[in-house]
């Protein structure tokens, strides 16, 4: 087993009687885009929250580059959280602040920077998503695509090692979807050493951006492979999901 990955081992989580994760095993390689697909309500978002340390797993291990983070205390867990950036489904920008202040916010909270240095960092992050000229705007003045870009800038500004996207293309039109796909790919290419994890049920987007695809079904990973593997697999569940058919092993 290699250490240049995030490794989930037999990860379990239940809410009351409902078993959401029933032993997830998955390797997320460093420096690549991994997409986890699955139907709504299969525990994809729970997986993200556990990975970020916002929620604790009931069982199993999360090993990041050789360190088991499930054994860490709250204080160390907070440090681990600082290595992650998260892009929320609806961007989740703070609507009481301008775009610039949104991106500056994590820096102001965690790093003691002088104003010129802070400005430089924020503008660099805004530039990487093409929003430098829009920093002074209020969040509600932005289009949907610009909001997503601002959210990526905010997630990137502290130079995280891992960038997580929660359903980045859900509810977007095809052109916006392509735009967000580009954003994810370009961000990955422009940031050396970045590891991206995308949670999605958008198959087309997944096949466009993924270096690795894993499918979560009934609380377990039932498939792992490249985008090409997904296209050619004859795994009945994956096939049904990819083709979006009603008939098959997945029952509604």
């Amino acid at each position: 087993m290699s250490d240049d990955c995030i490794r989930l081992e037999n990860l379990q989580k239940r809410f009351g009687a409902q078993e959401v994760l029933r032993g997830v095993d998955l390797e997320i390689p460093f420096g690549k885009i991994t997409v986890v697909i699955g139907r709504s309500g299969t525990g994809k978002s729970v997986l993200l929250k556990i990975l970020m340390g916002l929620m604790r797993a009931d069982g199993g291990r999360i090993v990041i580059g050789g360190t088991d983070i499930t054994r860490l205390g709250d204080r160390e867990l907070l440090k681990v959280r600082n290595r992650f950036g998260m892009v929320f489904q609806h961007a989740a920008l703070f609507d009481s602040m301008t775009v610039f202040e949104n991106v500056a916010f994590p820096l102001r909270e965690h790093e003691r920077l002088r104003e010129p240095a802070l400005k430089e960092r924020v503008n660099a992050a805004l530039a990487s998503v093409g929003l430098v000229e829009h920093g002074h705007k209020d969040v509600h003045q932005l289009s949907g695509g610009m909001r997503k870009r601002a959210a990526v800038a905010r997630a990137l500004v502290r130079k995280p090692e891992f960038l997580l996207y929660d359903e980045p293309t859900t509810g977007l039109d095809p052109i916006m979807t392509a735009h967000v796909d580009d954003l994810i790919r370009n961000t990955q290419n422009a940031t050396p050493g970045l590891t991206s994890l995308v949670i999605s049920h958008d198959m087309e987007a997944t096949l466009r951006i993924a270096d690795k695809v894993a499918m979560l079904h009934e609380g377990r990973v039932i498939f792992e492979g490249t985008a090409a593997d997904v296209r050619s697999t004859d795994h009945p569940v994956v096939r049904q999901f990819v083709e979006g058919r009603l008939e098959g092993p997945i029952q509604i």
Binding site: F88, L93, D95, E109
Partner: protein, 262 residues
């Protein structure tokens, strides 16, 4: 479900809810005293709770004082005790009407705004975003609001007392023709600083109730715009009732301390 088990289920739910509120409030209060201190957030909330509420509090205070002057005159005039109008009304203002009416007015304005703002942040994942940036959302959002309300409500209450007393005095001496000499002499004789301090202490407690309930309802809001609306209504109603209930108990506790003074 039979009525007994329905009652039991309701009781359990109520106790659980109160327990969650208590844990939330403890976290928020702990957040006030531990670093990081975000003074800018505190000042912004003090401005919102205090300065922006001042006009409604002053108008309410002046007219409350004025109308009570007229009503007290109606009653006291029957047995020739009009000289006592000032002391009676000002005692009622400082001890009861000031803190309670100030808090109820501020609750309508501030408690609802806190629940709506935080509730919207909850349903649009902005609170999750704070958490993902390793920031404690309770400390960031609730602590400055609760701290600001505890600090500002007593000041608003004092402002209410002042304009209320001016309202009574104006109506009593200028409109109703009460002799100013005995009027002010009695007021000075009957009203003590403790009456004012007691009222301000009460309003600090009410400020705590308004902000903690408003923030709690916001944090626990679920389900889009409708959920935020429900959270807002519940915050205002719960705080309003709690203010009146708690008021009685504080009064009962404070009363023995002021009875034997002289």
């Amino acid at each position: 479900m039979n009525p007994i088990s329905a009652l039991g289920a309701w009781m359990l739910a109520a106790v659980e809810e109160f327990g969650q509120y208590a844990v939330f409030t403890a976290r928020a209060l702990w957040g006030i005293v531990r670093p990081p201190y975000r003074l800018r957030n505190l000042f912004r909330q003090m401005e919102f709770v205090g300065n922006q509420s001042l006009s409604i509090v002053l108008i309410t205070g002046a007219f409350t004082g004025m109308v009570f002057a007229v009503q007290t005159d109606f009653a006291f005039g029957r047995f020739g005790a009009r000289g006592l109008i000032g002391s009676t009304v000002v005692l009622a203002l400082t001890r009861e009407l000031g803190p309670v009416l100030t808090s109820l007015m501020v609750n309508g304005r501030v408690g609802s705004a806190m629940a709506a703002e935080i509730g919207t942040m909850r349903v649009t994942e902005q609170i999750d975003a704070l958490e993902s940036m390793a920031i404690d959302p309770v400390q960031y959002l609730a602590s400055p609001r609760i701290g600001a309300s505890i600090l500002m409500l007593p000041i608003l209450c004092a402002a209410f007392d002042l304009v209320g007393a001016m309202g009574v005095s104006y109506v009593a001496t200028q409109v109703l023709g009460v002799n100013p000499g005995p009027y002010y002499a009695r007021m000075e004789w009957f009203v003590d600083p403790d009456d004012i301090w007691g009222g301000m202490l009460k309003s600090a407690v009410f400020g705590f109730i308004i902000a903690s309930v408003g923030c709690y309802r916001g944090f626990t809001a679920r389900g889009g715009a409708e959920g935020v609306g429900r959270a807002t209504t519940r915050a205002v109603v719960a705080s309003g009732v709690a203010i009146l209930v708690v008021d009685y108990f504080i009064t009962v506790i404070l009363a023995p301390m002021s009875v034997n003074r002289a």
